[in-house]
């Protein structure tokens, strides 16, 4: 997301300083924001076996990357999910990690070398991996700082000259009808929002009370608009008129069939706490997963900010933005 600076009024400056003090002192970039705890971690834990059963098709572009690596490579998969890519190249040694224990269990049962860890804070020493992959992970991180932190971690843990492949969901979806099934996030979630990078985190918006999870009618926020992000005009009190229409924050539903939900057990508490809803017509418990979908060029800008890596490839494939980075080689003395 771009930072566009506009000269603030004295009052706005004071409010911004206060709020930055609160957000930066109370939470470090490696701390998990509420929105991710509720709408990423808890959801994947609850849906793990069902999710895993739907994740089996190997994406050709990822397979090609993995198959291009030299035999004997140590490949680190950060956010490996159900382990779909672990072992894809039988000549390489894969080590996977994910924040979801139920998903890691599924990997472990298949015999893979895995651990439970956080992609924003990898418990790995520097330069051990020959390559790293991050497939459909960064779009679950709710602030730019955290997304950048995750990219930095991927680069840190590979050797000098090592490659990193990152893929994320694109705001520019090939199937536009999908967007109508997603719930765009509004200022109602500002309390769960963390980080000065978010367009929602302005003093004016923080004063709005938080309501429950509701589907926002299309007239309030256009999901198809691709306008540039502008700074929020300080004189404007109305939420409706705000120009934050570069819609990239969504809740994407996951339908967990009733028979699967009963086995999981987690759904009972999710329903009780309002985290999930029943859809009798579809016979499923509906969970929402938080996504920050990436706009064109955003992944590149994020990666460019990492000092010791170069972008060596970038492409759009099947509604995902993808990038390959190479970590700087060690300096050679002449």
């Amino acid at each position: 997301m771009r930072d566009i600076k506009v000269k603030p009024t004295h009052q706005q400056k004071q409010e911004e300083e206060e709020e930055e003090e609160i957000s930066s002192s109370s939470l470090s970039v490696k701390s998990t924001p509420e929105i991710e705890k509720k709408y990423v971690h808890r959801v994947y834990d609850a849906i793990a076996p069902h999710f895993s059963s739907t994740r089996y098709a190997k994406w050709p572009k990822v397979a090609a990357f993995l198959e291009s690596l030299p035999p004997g490579s140590v490949i680190l998969d950060a956010g490996c999910g159900n382990g779909k890519y672990l072992g894809l190249n039988p000549n390489c040694f894969f080590i996977g990690c994910d924040i979801s224990d139920p998903l890691i269990r599924i990997c472990s049962e298949k015999g893979h070398e895995v651990l439970v860890a956080d992609a924003v804070n990898l418990p790995y020493r520097e330069g051990f991996g020959d390559a790293a992959i991050s497939i459909a992970v960064l779009h679950h991180l709710s602030t730019e700082e955290r997304r950048k932190g995750a990219v930095e971690e991927l680069v840190r843990v590979v050797k000098p000259g090592g490659f990193v492949l990152i893929t994320v969901w694109a705001a520019e979806q090939e199937d536009k009808s999908l967007l109508t099934k997603w719930t765009p996030l509004s200022a109602k979630y500002v309390e769960e929002w963390v980080g000065p990078g978010s367009p929602m985190n302005s003093p004016r918006l923080r004063n709005n009370p938080c309501f429950g999870l509701e589907s926002i009618p299309e007239s309030d926020v256009s999901v198809k608009e691709q306008k540039d992000l502008e700074s929020i005009p300080e004189s404007d009190e109305s939420v409706k008129d705000e120009k934050v229409s570069n819609q990239q924050e969504y809740f994407v539903p996951w339908h967990l069939p009733y028979h699967r939900a009963e086995v999981s057990g987690a759904s009972a508490s999710a329903l009780a706490s309002g985290l999930a809803k029943k859809d009798d017509r579809k016979g499923a418990v509906v969970y929402n997963r938080y996504y920050h979908v990436f706009s064109e060029g955003e992944l590149e800008r994020l990666a460019s900010g990492v000092g010791n890596a170069m972008i060596v490839d970038r492409f759009y494939d099947k509604s995902n933005w993808c990038i390959v980075l190479q970590k700087e080689a060690l300096n050679q003395d002449h």
Binding site: G72, V74, C97, E113, L115, V116, D118, P123, R125
Partner: protein
């Protein structure tokens, strides 16, 4: 968890300096044979922190590794021991302990959990 992974793991608690290696407290160790791959072993020799491997192997009940690896790369007997320690010993139950803080990371059914609490980040 095999020692190849242990050789990479660190304690990420904020402010910790002595984050590697983690001490292994083993409760259950299992041996599983894996095919020997010479090229892979040579590739790993360059990455492995040797002392951490020796100490880790000892914690898992295997004390056959020499204290130093230099000049042994072509020695077949050495390579077999290296192979065994690196890839064939599995810590199924136990914990990984930070040498600086004593913080324990549990290992259950072969899977370490390295997640930190809010106040450790």
């Amino acid at each position: 968890m095999r020692l190849i992974v242990h050789n990479m793991l660190t304690c990420n608690v904020k402010g910790v300096v002595n984050k590697f290696p983690l001490k292994i407290v083993a409760e259950k160790v299992v041996k599983k044979e894996v095919d020997f791959n010479l090229d892979f072993l040579w590739h790993m020799l360059a990455k492995i922190e040797w002392k951490a491997l020796v100490d880790g192997a000892r914690s898992l009940g295997y004390s056959e590794l020499p204290d130093h690896a230099e000049a042994l790369e072509s020695n077949e007997s050495f390579l077999k021991k290296f192979h065994h320690a690196l890839l064939e010993l599995h810590l199924e139950e136990g914990s990984l302990v930070c040498k600086e803080t004593g913080r324990k990371f549990p290992v259950k059914k072969g899977v370490p959990n390295m997640l930190l609490h809010e106040d450790e980040v």
